[in-house]
């Protein structure tokens, strides 16, 4: 019951945060002088294409870009009626991309879900790799196991992602016949979901997951190792030894449980780092995620597209933090009871 209450409370605070974030995003996008259309109109005027100017002027009024910024914001979010009535983010209208001359929802389309997929795969990779390596490195600290894990980890941290991507593509293709670039074979693009398409996507995911995940995994592993080492020297570990517990069970039941908190708390931080960190990788690897669209949108001041992508990343982050907060409450009774105020 108490957990449910906390979950609702946490969800409401998340919505409030999202709202504040939306204001920030809108203000920052509008900080540079001018907007996409005024830039375009100026360019058209300079080259003397009058008919284009009329269309752009029409779009300006259609999307309310001629109004004051706070009004633009309210219309964008859907908290005030615009030229098309109450029709903003809240109502499910993501806006118009001027750069691609299509609705944002169409531009982003599948990329949204592929982004989620790639990043979830990477997060999973981070946890699956970091958990066992971190624990082993701590349990066998200052032995060759520890040093090797640290060496591989730092290598992963220090190598630029796109370089790693190129190397992996080359050798992956040469020795394992892995595909190069993209998230699926070209023949499946735009096709409905099928078993073969899923298989193609999975094979294409291997290298991107590895590339995006390595640095995160290396950092996470070192953090887990440090936490574990702290916990291992605490008296309750000694108590467990004095009880007669075997080493493996002892490690898993006591210090690992304690060292798990920061590990879980990182879920929220991991997501945005990966989404923004994977922009460059997506460009290099030719992944159809929203990373490349964000880059183009920001360059050309395509404000609705950029705004939507940023909102999407913010939403992922907030959901990640919410999940980790809720998990922490479930995992750690001290937090649970602290929240109850006893």
């Amino acid at each position: 019951m108490m957990f449910l209450r906390y979950a609702i409370y946490r969800f409401i605070t998340m919505l409030l945060t999202l709202w504040v974030v939306s204001i920030l995003i809108f203000v920052i996008i509008n900080l540079p002088p001018g907007d996409y259309l005024s830039n375009q109109i100026a360019e058209l005027r300079a080259t003397g294409q009058a008919e284009g100017v009329a269309k752009a002027e029409f779009l300006r009024t259609e999307y309310a870009l001629d109004r004051p910024i706070w009004e633009q914001y309210l219309i964008w979010v859907g908290m005030a009626p615009g030229p098309q009535g109450w029709y903003g983010l809240i109502q499910g209208n993501f806006g118009w991309s001027f750069e691609f001359d299509r609705p944002v929802s169409e531009v982003v389309g599948d990329a949204l879900w592929l982004t989620v997929l790639v990043n979830l795969a990477a997060v999973l990779f981070v946890y699956l790799v970091a958990l066992p390596l971190g624990v082993i490195a701590a349990a066998r600290s200052e032995t060759w196991v520890d040093y090797t894990a640290a060496f591989v980890g730092y290598l992963g941290l220090a190598t630029p992602n796109f370089l790693l991507a190129l190397i992996l593509f080359y050798y992956g293709n040469k020795y394992f016949d892995l595909p190069i670039g993209g998230l699926m074979s070209p023949e499946y693009e735009g096709e409905p979901m099928s078993w073969d398409k899923v298989k193609s996507i999975l094979v294409h995911l291997i290298v991107p997951t590895f590339v995006i995940g390595t640095s995160g995994a290396a950092a996470m592993m070192q953090r887990l190792r440090a936490n574990m080492l702290d916990e291992l020297s605490k008296p309750y570990v000694e108590t467990a030894r004095a009880k007669g517990l075997g080493p493996a069970k002892l490690l898993a039941k006591y210090p690992l449980r304690m060292a798990f908190n920061p590990f879980v708390a990182d879920i929220g931080n991991l997501l945005p780092a990966m989404v923004s960190g994977s922009v460059l990788v997506s460009v290099v690897l030719g992944l159809q995620t929203i990373g490349p669209s964000l880059l183009t949108a920001l360059k050309s001041q395509d404000q609705f597209l950029a705004g939507f992508v940023l909102m999407f990343v913010a939403l992922l982050t907030l959901i990640g933090t919410m999940i980790s907060d809720l998990l922490l409450v479930l995992l750690d009774p001290r937090i649970r009871y602290g929240a109850r105020g006893s």
Binding site: E238, A242, K243, G244, P333, R334, G338, A339, R340, G341
Partner: protein, 590 residues
């Protein structure tokens, strides 16, 4: 003569290539016997007892000796037993309880889970039966509601309750030998008395042997049948308790005895102390904290101290005594202006007899700076109160730099002078704190407090982190300085025996209120309040003929709502502090 249960022979343990920390130690424990392993920090007593279970730090190497354990008639050498066999002994035949109940239990697992784990490991018991056995044990160690304890997490309990849970965990498999490593050092004195009583009772029931590791001769006198005194890794003296305690033969044991603080036997009450020249006058000091809880829960108000009146006569020592959570440290912080009391409180400070009183609870910035020169503090933990990155000279001259006193040379000379005052050599000025022992560090922090020539010194448990023999020296030093420099002390302590020698007046605090106040002799001659009586009764004395009277402890150590009618109260709604005889105030209904 029967065979001993545990026989340690010529045990030597070292770290790396350094000199061994335990050298050639031998002792034996008979079935059902209590053996006390006594020594100060660094004596090797903890390492020795841990080597029995082989739970030493990784770097420790056992370089020689044997530990024979009588396992149902067969002798096993615990030092050569394979790890798997050792695991069957740990928690099963030999169990251990540790010093810090706060940190020795996992905070993430329910107590039921942690205690029943022992049975599941060693007895292969199904959950139902394990649960029943554990609940019985919980009841046996004095939990009124075992079912609730099973469900509880350690952080929901007080220190004494956690130590009971630890004892339950150690006892649940009915071991033949219990190793208790300073089991009561981290506990309040009344709780200590109850926990010691519990261990004794359990021992009577089960016939197990106990190795009690302690630094406190009072605890030894109350518990042990035989004693091993250790110093610097060697056994100094060994024998039956009555012989070792009655007529210590070794010089080191005699020294320990001389240093052990005792509550004196008093023949007559003291005369009332004069209160005509107050350097510090705290009136109706109340401090409440509002704990903001997360989420939607309502904030909680905690009262740290409630309408406390303390008067410190110039040149004298006023001791505030109480258990953890009694509000004594809050009072000290308020006296120094480090914390602001609630409205309605008043704290007055008179730097000299004829100077205008300063309201410490409402100082301006410039008044505060001037006040800090006159009132200084000595902290409890000498290890963390000196910056490890500052040379002693820097640490001692920094206060003068902050207050712009003297030239560089003056400050250096003053620092050297202060070092001589506290009995250290001025040539030590260029060293770092890590080069000093605990006692020397406490001397340094006293020297630092003195560099500004204060008139008031607040000492917050200045000796409770130190060994008894060092404690003795620091108390003597504090007395010399007080009389030599004409200082006044507000002395915070949990230990009546320490206070007995240094204080001119004692205020006993409990749950934020002063329950009894008198000169120490009056207090010890005629303690009136049940809580004061409990504190005095709970003090373990290194004298076999004065065992702890647990019934006296039980009467006064509970919450104020369980006290005898004349003293009883609930919450902060306490009766008034009444002067029963000149200079002797007791909080009671009259």
């Amino acid at each position: 003569m029967s065979t001993p249960l545990l026989d340690v022979r010529n045990l030597s343990i070292g770290f790396g290539t350094a000199d061994p920390v335990v050298r050639d130690v031998s002792f034996s424990v008979m079935p059902g016997e209590t053996l006390a392993l006594v020594g100060e920090s660094g004596s090797g007593k903890t390492i020795t007892c841990r080597s029995v279970l082989r739970i030493l730090p990784d770097a420790a190497r056992i370089s020689g000796g044997e530990i024979n354990f009588d396992c149902k008639g067969t002798q096993i050498d615990l030092l050569t037993l394979p790890e798997r066999g050792m695991r069957r002994i740990r928690g099963n035949q030999i169990a251990m309880i540790f010093q810090e109940p706060m940190r020795s239990l996992s905070p993430l697992h329910r107590l039921g889970d942690q205690v029943s784990e022992v049975l599941r490991l060693h007895r292969d018991m199904p959950m139902r039966e394990a649960r029943r056995t554990v609940l019985e044990t919980f009841e046996r160690v004095g939990f009124p509601d075992p079912g609730r304890v099973w469900q509880s997490y350690p952080f929901e309990m007080s220190g004494g309750m956690r130590q009971r849970a630890m004892i339950a965990m150690a006892m649940v498999a009915r071991p033949e030998l219990l190793i208790a490593d300073e089991p009561t050092t981290a506990l309040d004195v009344t709780t200590q008395a109850q926990v010691l009583g519990l261990i004794k009772d359990l021992q009577k029931d089960t016939g197990m042997a106990v190795i009690l590791v302690t630094h406190d001769l009072g605890v030894v006198a109350n518990m042990a049948e035989s004693v091993v005194v250790m110093n610097k890794g060697r056994v100094m003296e060994r024998g039956p308790a009555d012989v070792v305690l009655g007529a210590p033969a070794h010089g080191y044991t005699q020294k320990l005895f001389a240093a052990a603080p005792m509550i004196p036997e008093v023949a007559a009450p003291a005369r009332a102390a004069p209160h005509d020249d107050l350097i510090l006058d705290m009136r109706k000091v109340t401090k409440t904290y509002t704990m903001r809880a997360g989420g939607w829960s309502a904030p909680k108000v905690v009262t740290a101290c409630h309408r406390v009146d303390l008067e410190l006569q110039r040149g004298k020592t006023l001791a505030v005594v109480g258990e953890s959570g009694s509000g004594k440290t809050t009072c000290a912080r308020i006296a120094l202006g480090a914390e602001l009391p609630d409205r309605g409180s008043e704290v007055l400070f008179r730097a000299a007899a004829d100077s205008k009183p300063l309201r410490v609870d409402a100082m301006s910035q410039s008044e505060r700076v001037a006040f800090q020169r006159q009132a200084q503090m000595v902290f409890q933990d000498p290890y963390s109160s000196l910056s490890p990155r500052m040379r002693i000279q820097q640490a001692l001259t920094e206060p003068m730099e902050i207050h712009n006193i003297g030239s560089r040379k003056d400050r250096r000379e003053k620092a050297a002078e202060m070092l001589r005052w506290v009995g250290l050599d001025p040539s030590m000025l260029s060293r770092y704190p890590h080069a000093f022992s605990g006692g020397q560090r406490q001397r340094l922090s006293i020297a630092r407090a003195l560099t500004l020539d204060p008139v008031l010194l607040v000492c917050d448990e200045p000796t409770s982190a130190l060994d008894v023999s060092v404690q003795e020296q620091i108390l003597t030093l504090l007395e010399d300085i007080r009389d030599g420099m004409g200082l006044s002390y507000l002395f915070i302590s949990h230990d009546l025996a320490v206070v007995a020698r240094i204080a001119d007046e004692v205020a006993v605090m409990r749950q934020g209120v002063v329950v009894e106040q008198a000169p120490p002799d009056t207090l010890f001659y005629n303690p009136r309040h049940p809580y004061t009586r409990a504190l005095i009764a709970a003090q373990p004395e290194p004298d076999l003929n004065r065992p702890i009277d647990l019934s006296l402890v039980a009467r006064g150590a509970g919450s104020p709502s369980t006290w005898p009618e004349a003293y009883r109260f609930e919450g902060v709604d306490a009766p008034a502090l009444t002067e029963l005889e000149p200079g002797h105030k007791v909080r009671c209904h009259v």
